[in-house]
């Protein structure tokens, strides 16, 4: 699923990457505020859903080539974080849904988590 579709599903604002959302493919999704867990358990082309808004989230994304980041419950990162993501061409979205609901909306469409253990749930 590409990020344009995810933006629609989450009624999200785009902070970085509006012009290339169509080209960014997401295979798996991870919801976490602990960056060590993100580093340890995610795969490539993963979209991160998080409530953490500091620069280490961008660094984490850079290290493991995340597809993009969705900041949940309307928490907007500061201008320095947005600037850093722009430099790295890392898409940033902002949704007002809390983490659990954001996860649920995406899981319901059949997007897999990083364990890959669950069968696809199609509505």
């Amino acid at each position: 699923m590409n990020l344009t579709k995810i933006k629609e599903l989450l009624k999200a604002d785009v902070l970085v990457g509006e012009e290339f959302l169509d080209q960014v493919e997401v295979l798996t999704v991870c919801g976490a505020d602990l960056m060590s867990d993100v580093l340890a358990f995610t795969k490539e082309k993963t979209l991160l859903l998080t409530g953490l808004t500091n620069n280490q989230v961008i660094r984490t994304a850079e290290m493991i080539d995340l597809s993009g980041i969705v900041f949940v419950r309307g928490k907007k990162p500061g201008p320095d974080v947005i600037k850093m993501a722009k430099e790295k061409r890392l898409p940033l979205l902002l949704t007002f849904y809390p983490l659990y609901e954001t996860c649920g909306i995406l899981f319901h469409t059949g997007l897999q988590g990083c364990s890959g253990e669950y069968p696809k749930v199609r509505p």
Partner: protein, 150 residues
């Protein structure tokens, strides 16, 4: 690589969260330029980043050294700092002595060293209390090498 070794040094400032991760970021770029496989770059990047965060969180100052050889890449994180009281305990998932400031950044949950151990083919930790810690991580370039998954 033509048999030659390449060694690069990156200083790391303790307590500075705004620049934390820059060394690991630079290392990743170098490895990409060298044409190292994506899977190996990923493991090295994660280990280097966790090691760099450990310096930022716990130490006064330190350095990350990247050494690229023909068959092996090693990352050495060397710091001046408090040292590790019990290395075996520090290797346990969830054990942490990090301050709240680290947790606010998404780290300090006792996953750093265990993550490094998972990523590296070989890990050596030497620590002296009230002096500092040296973490040496080795990664074998040969894809045939059996990884120690645990």
């Amino acid at each position: 690589m033509n048999g030659a070794e390449m060694i690069l040094h990156y200083p790391v400032e303790g307590g500075n969260y705004s620049t934390a991760g820059e060394a690991a970021s630079k290392i990743k770029k170098v490895l990409k330029q060298l044409g190292i496989s994506a899977e190996l770059i990923r493991r090295i990047s994660i280990a280097a980043y966790e090691a760099e965060m450990n310096i930022v969180i716990h130490a006064v100052q330190g350095e990350i050294r990247l050494k690229v050889g023909e068959k092996k890449i090693s990352i050495t994180a060397n710091d001046k700092g408090p040292g590790i009281v019990d290395v075996d305990l520090a290797m346990q998932e969830g054990y942490s002595t990090a301050p709240d400031s680290a947790r606010e950044m998404g780290f300090g949950a006792g996953m750093g060293l265990p993550n490094i151990e998972k990523c590296a083919d070989n890990l050596q930790i030497d620590s002296v209390l009230k002096q500092g810690t040296k973490v040496v991580m080795a990664f074998f370039i040969n894809q045939q090498h059996e990884r120690n998954e645990n």
